[in-house]
Symmetry: C2
Subunit: 351 residues, 2 copies
């Protein structure tokens, strides 16, 4: 019997459903034999795919779910089908303690809404946020949140995101006091929305937190490698993340076109290929797959809808690493600390 | 006497002041002998730089300005010094008809505030927007606005940006009916803020406009080459633009590192160099320099603070091209058309 993290898998989400999800689980298992998977989906479809991954069988429990959530489904409709859908049942397994985390490649809005309803937000958190790691030129990736869970955010939300993102950086990147910045359209104190200015003022005062707040940053600094945690509202965060993905593809497309433009550059390409493959690995979104909903009483990981088996395996590793590092407890401690100080400061101010 | 567009130059703005601005003007003049420049700045500093560009002298009129606007200055303070600063006086020259357009590399917020106060917005425009061309994989660049002039925008603002951006695309890119999309965090109708949903509804109905509204787009589609005009609020637009710039630099930095990683890849780089130079040209922000404030009764072009002489020359070409294409009149016609139809529709609804 496996003794490692028990991961619930929503087999029906994502562009290629059970095929990618089970191939991803098989890939993850090759690297970590201790994993156990609770696979939720249409039993016949899951069994058919499982036949292609015999090694997986001993570490899988299939749970039949009669329905699934489509990518077009409104979150408000999805939540009514929590008990009958692969997504809802995978989340339910985390709630009931049968799984330590759930991974889904399905409809983000529905996943968020169902997770929030089933798991509830942690004490001190008004809204959970979607966090992921961005590649940088530096020694490690950069944590960015929110990536699209909350279209509009107030100052309190942003401060809570900073606390959660820092706990994530401390856990996953092993940085004891992460450097946190707020994403803005300029670095001067007077720039940006009122929410950003207020959040900056709150964070500047919160020097008892295990993070180093360092003001505002701009979109062109995200991949420089000198920020550990970038905090933003879900609208801007989603735009920034997708623009970065699109631009990376744009530049590599231009590069491919340049290499094909002459016989000479084709020869140059052939020579440089091993080095260029490193670049390809660095930029492959599958290597950065797995965004986490932070701030819930339970771990939910969102895999990209178009992720390949390697990407799904990475999303599973994100989930298992957070289970092992007990991130939910860590965030809880930071939040307790934050509230205790905020309360003491309010008491002092009132005297 | 030159007969082409008369361009007012704020010589004191930007990271390298008169040096870059005059070298840029000299460069622009080599390509277009008809240009005339009204150069505003500290007379001694401007004369000293002009000595390095003898060919420029016959086409330059220097106007001494005793002061300049710093990059840290608040817009609310800057507007009080409109009559004594190089930026304020360059804008004033457009207002008074001494110049056809002004180019500044100075403080964007101050430039926006001073321009708005001096030139006023066009009838039918509540807020001007900053527009620029983004490089794409397609046959032509893509117009994007707003890039930072308005932190928050309502639906009416976004519709007006669509009208202005389309007039810009018709003029500068020669597209008779530009394909317009709203930047959002998903393409489904229910995605995004209320402002975006309302703007989409208004644009969907406005089929009499010389544009083809085509719904929402996401950050990863901006450089695909299948959109002519991308409309967004100034906060998201600025984040997207800067993230794209940062990511392009990130990928080329990784590429440089890859090429240096072995002797073999160094040889490959040497062979591919001519092809890679094309890529460099395509991505150089100086080749896309020159953002335009659309919606004012006068043309103001913002050059990047760090632009080199080639970049400044491109900003000057953006200005002269818009003067020649009479873009202010074109936008005015589209707005009149839009308001006439909106009025007729309201009348019909009231009957």
């Amino acid at each position: 019997m496996p003794t490692g993290p028990r991961i619930a898998i929503d087999a029906m989400g994502g562009d290629s459903g059970p095929a990618a999800m089970l191939a991803g689980a098989a890939r993850a298992l090759r690297k970590d034999k201790t994993l156990h998977f609770l696979v939720f989906g249409d039993e016949a479809a899951v069994r058919a795919e499982l036949a292609n991954h015999k090694t997986l069988t001993p570490n899988v429990t299939i749970v039949h779910s009669p329905e699934s959530i489509s990518s077009e489904e409104k979150p408000s409709q999805a939540i009514r089908r929590a008990r009958t859908t692969s997504m809802g049942m995978a989340i339910g397994a985390v709630k009931d303690g049968h799984a330590d985390a759930a991974v889904s490649a399905g409809n983000t809005g529905a996943l968020m809404a169902m997770s929030k309803l089933a798991l509830r937000t942690m004490p001190g958190i008004d809204r959970p946020a979607l966090a992921a790691l961005l590649p940088t030129m530096g020694e490690h990736d950069c944590v960015m949140l929110d990536l699209g869970a909350n279209t509009e955010c107030d100052a309190q939300n942003l401060v809570q995101f900073a606390v959660m993102g820092s706990a994530y950086a401390r856990t996953v990147l092993s940085i004891s006091k992460p450097r946190v910045k707020l994403l803005n359209i300029g670095t001067e104190e007077l720039k940006g929305t009122d929410e950003l200015k207020e959040a900056a003022a709150l964070l500047r005062d919160a020097n008892y937190l295990p993070l180093k707040f360092d003001g505002f940053t701009e979109g062109d600094q995200l991949s420089r490698g000198n920020i550990d945690v970038v905090v933003t509202d879900g609208f801007s965060g989603n735009i920034a993340l997708k623009t970065a993905e699109g631009t990376a593809r744009f530049v590599t497309d231009l590069l491919r076109r340049a290499f094909k433009s002459s016989l000479r550059s084709k020869a140059g390409f052939a020579l440089s290929k091993p080095a260029l493959n490193l670049l390809k690995v660095h930029l492959d979104p599958n290597n950065h797959n797995g965004a986490v909903f932070l701030g819930l009483n339970g771990l939910i990981v969102k895999s990209h809808g178009g992720a390949n088996p390697k990407g799904v395996a990475n999303a599973i590793f994100v989930a298992s690493s957070m289970v092992r590092n007990d991130i939910t407890r860590r965030i809880g401690e930071d939040l307790d600390n934050f509230r205790a100080h905020a309360f003491a400061a309010a008491e002092q101010a009132a005297q």
